[in-house]
Symmetry: C2
Subunit: 636 residues, 2 copies
């Protein structure tokens, strides 16, 4: 199979042209009438006028007496006037002004006499202390113009104005059609080769956030006729359609042909990455968007190309995108053929906003979930070097970034538990952790990119962990070493150890497929050291070049049968019910730069490390020892 992109149109032009194209096809909003009580957040479809005045009667604005002002004329301090009982009526605030009265005198300003008369020392001016009809809203007055969002107070104003039903813009319905032979509905036990359908759930949540409704259609197999029939049905039932290809190549051929047969295709192929194979088409006046199957590509295409159409329907301005300057921690390379969207994690370290590029695999949905921002690299730019100040579009709030503890370094599942406990203890504090190994963590601290780094580096000469590395990489100080946990390292092997592995050297045995950690990780350094100690050539070990980034992913490979052995910690082996051959207990500590020491995030970190809850959790995970966690290790 093969497919050709007919176009490589720049994104901004694709957006503009698509709106113009759709408008010519007759694409526009529809209205509906709803009770005003349900109108919050909706958009008016026409101007709304008050039916009655609010207040709708002249009301007393004070507790006191209502009078005819003329009866009071002439009253002064020296020549008070007495009003008999039939010349005044007692009123409370909010009471209607009785017929024949046109002024209110406050209760404080009258003197009651025993015979029921009142004495006043000042004349009342007509309409004093009276809340006039229409003081708030007059009948016939425009309460809201067309195409305006309805706020809670506007609902109050409309009810006050006697408006109980209003015409609003109907929420557009976005039909979402998942396709693909291998795509199956979400479940917990997919078979090999099955791909779980989750794009539709992502897209439907996105469009609902933007004020639309979503309708998810059943998964359609890769058959032209069936796809065509479903697109036809959806374009009749919905206001916009997302046709979501599967993840295998060539699928888009069906989409573009289907849309061409039923309607028209404006562009197939946008100069953007991810998202290049997008199709902008229509059936009648209904926009039909062909969206690539990889979730990250899909998210970006829907955000960039469907959101403006929903906004066009709803007559709302696009949300302002918030951009901030940030320092790039790693280089990013980009092609000149397209505009590129790179997801980054972000955090303020030492007062500077840092941006670390995340995995660019467009199949990795978790990278989108973790992203705090998007670095938009224009088509003319070939990328940026590390350390470069770039402008990033924020996905997370700046406030959140200011309260995020940035942890870069060695991986341990306890970091996620720490993140959880810190956020439970203080809902305003967050953690973001990146796994780049112990050496990567030291470098990140040195470059000022992190508040903390997990580290477990063995000095093979002294047998000590971490301390000599602190001396070497922070010779002038500037960072503290904080005790965290002792943890059991060893070889993870399949349940019941079918290959009979009993010691490290066994990993070079015939038939053993090893899975390694990445270079620079403490566990890799340990494995390299053990090879040397045992006199094993790395090339003797099958799979020694196969690298995973976490203990958990090493365990996952072994559990699935795609590898037979790998170095890792006991808690990962336990999680996957693997057998474990202990090798050593190592110290996993945290390096914290002095400049971060007084931040609320680090204070919370230390507090949580010292807590009993943390200790209990860690011990329940297995393979850990914990003593004096959160204390500084004094380096002499």
């Amino acid at each position: 199979m093969s497919f050709e992109y007919l176009t490589n149109v720049p994104l901004y032009k694709a957006k503009e042209d698509y709106i113009e194209f759709l408008t010519k096809k007759g694409f526009t909003h529809e209205a509906e009438t709803i009770p005003v009580f349900e109108a919050a957040g909706r958009i008016t479809a026409e101007a709304i006028y008050a039916h009655i005045c609010a207040p709708h009667y002249a009301a007393s604005a004070m507790d006191g007496v209502a009078v005819n002002a003329k009866d009071t004329f002439g009253a002064t301090e020296t020549t008070p006037k007495v009003l008999p009982q039939d010349k005044y009526i007692v009123v409370d605030t909010g009471d209607p002004i009785p017929d024949g009265c046109d002024a209110v005198i406050m209760v404080e300003d009258i003197v009651k006499t025993e015979d029921g008369c009142i004495t006043i020392h000042e004349s009342a001016s007509p309409w004093q202390h009276i809340r006039q009809i229409g003081e708030d809203i007059c009948a016939g007055e425009m309460i809201l113009p067309s195409f305006m969002p309805v706020s809670p107070s506007a609902i109050g104003a409309m009810i006050a104005g006697g408006v109980l039903e209003i015409s609003v813009i109907r929420k557009p319905v976005v039909g979402i059609i998942p396709t693909g032979d291998e795509i199956i509905p979400p479940c917990t036990d997919p078979k090999e080769g099955d791909i779980l359908e989750f794009n539709a759930s992502i897209f439907s949540s996105m469009v609902k956030n933007w004020g639309a409704d979503a309708k998810i259609y059943p998964i359609v197999p890769d058959k032209f006729d069936e796809i065509r029939d479903m697109v036809k049905k959806a374009s009749e039932e919905c206001d916009m359609v997302i046709l979501n290809a599967g993840s295998s190549a060539g699928r888009e051929d069906y989409s573009v042909s289907v849309i061409r047969q039923l309607g028209e295709v404006l562009y197939h192929g946008i100069a953007m990455k991810p998202g290049k194979p997008a199709i902008l088409g229509c059936v009648g006046s209904v926009p039909v968007l062909g969206v690539p199957g990889y979730p990250v590509s899909g998210i970006i295409v829907v955000e960039e190309l469907l959101k403006p159409i929903i906004e066009k329907w709803l007559k709302v301005s696009a949300d302002e995108r918030i951009y901030e300057k940030a320092t790039l921690t790693r280089p990013v390379v980009s092609g000149l053929k397209y505009e590129e969207f790179v997801r980054v994690r972000m955090g303020y370290v030492g007062g500077k906003l840092m941006a670390s590029p995340l995995s660019r695999g467009s199949g990795v949905v978790s990278s989108f979930m973790k992203a705090d921002g998007i670095l938009e690299i224009s088509q003319e730019t070939e990328g940026y070097e590390a350390g470069k100040e770039v402008t990033v579009r924020l996905l997370s709030k700046k406030e959140k970034l200011e309260n995020t503890l940035v942890v870069i370094g060695s991986h341990d599942p306890l970091l996620d538990e720490l993140a959880d406990m810190m956020h439970i203890d203080n809902n305003d504090i967050y953690m973001s952790s990146s796994h780049v190994g112990s050496m990567g963590g030291i470098m990140a601290i040195r470059r000022g990119e992190a508040h903390a780094a997990g580290c477990h580096l063995l000095d093979t000469v002294t047998g000590e962990y971490n301390i000599s590395f602190m001396k070497k990489y922070f010779p002038a100080g500037g960072a503290k070493l904080i005790r965290c946990v002792g943890r059991q390292q060893g070889l993870m092997v399949a349940k019941d150890n079918p290959l009979g592995i009993t010691k490290f050297a066994d990993i070079k045995n015939e038939g053993v497929r090893y899975v390694n950690r990445q270079k620079g990780s403490g566990t890799r350094i340990l494995a390299d050291y053990l090879c040397e100690k045992e006199g094993i050539e790395q090339s003797e070990i099958y799979g020694y070049d196969r690298e995973e980034l976490t203990h958990t992913s090493v365990a996952a490979q072994i559990a699935s049968g795609s590898a037979d052995a790998g170095m890792g910690i006991y808690s990962a082996a336990k999680l996957y019910d693997l057998d474990f051959i202990p090798i050593c207990i190592e110290e996993y500590d945290l390096i914290i730069p002095d400049h971060a020491w007084d931040s609320p995030m680090v204070k919370q970190l230390i507090e949580t490390l010292k807590s009993d809850t943390f200790k209990e959790k860690i011990l329940s995970m297995g393979g850990y020892t914990i003593e004096n966690a959160g204390e500084e290790i004094i380096i002499k």
Copy 2:
């Protein structure tokens, strides 16, 4: 009736103490389990871990052939290797890696021979071009910590990780109890003395915006036992309760006694305005908030005191309040007894953000609807002078304020129609108009506070409108006069003219109650001029001091029978089906300062003024002539 406030506690302290008080009473969130598909925007109640790996099988990352890497070892450019048919399997992207294979060679890198063998020129390294198990998410990995909002991409990650149900924080249910003998459910024909209930609809929309649910109870009359029973019921059925007093004084006595009888009252009376009579109490662990009846007071109390409790339940940080510096157009006076919240309209004029205080009547719900910001005046501050730079909390988006045409000056209902048409023509453009009369408009333009001012000022010497005033107030230029409409001024009187008024002088007749416009308005200046011309003393006219701010509200007084005559324009009389005695046709034009001339708002204004749609609308309103609207009037 009377009531005493027991406390005058500062707002910040009331907030802090209330949360602490409630926490001690056992106030906390509850969780519920929901399908992950419905979880967007909800908050996790516990950490969520993946059940399966994503991908859950090793998959080909390319179209090509799967092989056992060992079979390829040794292949080079010069010594290619041939693999027979049983040593490779064709795979597409996404296909599972067949048993016995551990590498994929791209289709581009193989040469097929006729007998079905393939030739390769490079050895494959184990696991090349294979998407590893768990590349995205590993089983057992934490996908989301506790108390985190669920984003669309997190929903994708959870489904990919085999998580189909999650525990989220249940939305708290806010019970809303309206009380008051005179309060009636919303309707379009209230009787005199009836007060339409709309606070509950406002509060319910507000709390829904903040992530809660609302339950509105039936209106309870002012009877202690009935209020008590309803509060008891609501505190059993809901997680928080708003007890909304009616608008008449003394009502709060019931509220505070009811809460005291059922539970406890922490504070009654907060040092804030509006909102002073708020009651902070509880029944068991359920917060019960006594909220004043005036809508503006109620809105502020619910925002300041209930929102933090909802956030506490939901474990979310408060939305960041956005503050901007702005120039105050009018002085604001505030007491030292309380913190004050003054609603302001805002707009950028000549690059400066201006803030104009709105009506401070706490019964005026439309003022909240129109507010773009809130000026928070601390208890220590007695107020600010006009021209002072103050810090205002924004309610409208800055973007909207930048695109708002600020019109200050003479009132005409056509301004609302213009606002509507401009926004329909360009959804990004808004208008805010304030009615301060023609002279007020000229002054606002001179002070740089407005982009346009409606003006209809008669030079009684020349008989010309507006031009001589332009010469007088803009002697050096700096503003243009733009033709708008001719409009019919006259006397509005009740339908069928029961008092037989036929000319202006008749308003001094015995039994005629006049209603006037405010000083500085063109219509008032006209009335004053007519008095002088006819030799009438203003004091001879009953009600000449009674001032309304718009033509519409003058008409509303006459239509309701609370006045007999008033000067105004024909379209207002027509709107209220009043009789009309024509007096003159005047020119209503717009003054636009030169600095605003090139702004998109003024460009749109001129375009809309010149449009046929505007002309048609204006003529349909009656009493207008329109010719060359939008053209500049050249002043010689």
